[in-house]
């Protein structure tokens, strides 16, 4: 369990809780895709559900539901609200 508060990532978010995006530490096309979906610093993201195997996870972003894999979500740093 990563308890370092400042380095909390989207992947650490328990189902049902919300957070605010701090930084998107991805690169290239994936980063642009994530930004285009509206996951930008300051956006409130809710962890909606996990898939039956626990990965990927579905997040609520600006009224839409987006599924991300753990590896990618862990590069999106957040703070709890």
């Amino acid at each position: 369990m990563k308890n370092n508060f400042a380095r909390l990532s989207l992947a650490d978010l328990p189902v049902g809780s919300s957070c605010q995006v701090c930084s998107v530490e991805l690169a290239g096309l994936l980063k642009r895709r994530i930004l285009d979906l509206g996951i930008i610093p300051g956006t409130v993201v809710e962890c909606i559900r996990k898939s039956p195997s626990g990965d990927p996870t579905a997040y609520g972003v600006r009224g839409a539901t987006i599924a991300l894999r753990h590896d990618d979500a862990s590069q999106i740093k957040v703070s709890l609200i």
Binding site: R33, G38, G63, A64
Partner: protein, 261 residues
């Protein structure tokens, strides 16, 4: 007038879009899952054919319809979240809106997810003012207790806004009428200018004079500046590819009317 028609036809043929003389070309843009194809099917019915964009493995659907005795050619652009051209689909959508000279660009929005959808509409608005915003899935929004004030949205955006529920056919008549008016140039459009943060705005201003000299009124220079700052290489290539054939005397002034800021 003749030269202009010829030039536009040549430009459109770059995209495999062969419009008949006098036919209005409408580009249909939107996010995935917003019912864009429902709008497309509802407007064109059986009069459609599908293929690929020239040289790309991306679907290209085109359909026709007639409204007020005027023939329309509807071009279904790939469903994208953005047209900042990170993928082939986005590049196709962006290039067609920018260089394909559509008479109208209709952006279909999901009423239940307006923020993300407006992101696309705002991007399109930076390229062309000749657009209609179609807020679709109004029935879904009602079910979720979401109300969208389309009159206010119209004021905010400065372009026509039509609320539709395409699957029931609601609002499609108004959509056709609005498309007609925009295509015929009878509506006054004052598209909203996106406000950028100071850092972005300052750098845009630095580049603006040189770009203005370069593109004149053929493209929105602010938008070109933003693309260059975004490091969009594909766009620079597209300018070379498409704008060159447009740079003929007599065409520039006409294009200026279309892509005026």
């Amino acid at each position: 007038m003749q030269t202009q028609d010829v030039t536009r036809r040549v430009l459109r043929e770059h995209f495999g879009v062969g419009a008949a003389p006098g036919q209005y070309v409408v580009a249909l843009a939107g996010n995935p899952n917003v019912g864009k194809s429902t709008v497309f099917n509802a407007l064109t019915g059986l009069r459609q054919h599908t293929g690929n964009w020239p040289g790309k493995t991306v679907d290209n659907a085109q359909g026709t319809f007639t409204f007020r005795d005027k023939p329309f050619l509807l071009v279904d652009l790939p469903g994208t979240y953005s047209i900042l051209a990170h993928t082939v689909e986005e590049q196709i959508a962006r290039d067609f809106i920018c260089f394909g000279c559509p008479d109208v660009t209709v952006v279909v929005l999901d009423a239940t997810c307006l923020e993300r959808n407006l992101n696309l509409a705002l991007q399109v608005m930076e390229i062309t003012p000749n657009m209609v915003v179609c807020v679709n899935l109004m029935d879904e929004a009602r079910k979720k207790n979401i109300t969208v004030n389309t009159d206010l949205l119209k004021k905010e955006l400065g372009v026509p806004v039509v609320a539709t529920t395409a699957r029931n056919g609601d609002g499609l008549d108004e959509l056709r009428e609005t498309m007609y008016q925009v295509a015929a140039g009878t509506l006054e459009l004052y598209p909203r200018r996106i406000t950028y943060s100071e850092q972005v705005e300052n750098t845009v201003q630095k580049l603006l004079p040189a770009i203005q000299r370069l593109v004149g009124n053929r493209l929105n220079p602010r938008w070109v500046a933003l693309r260059l700052l975004d490091g969009d290489r594909a766009f620079i290539e597209s300018i070379g590819l498409h704008l060159d054939s447009q740079a003929k005397p007599g065409v520039v002034s006409e294009a200026a009317r279309e892509v005026a800021i």
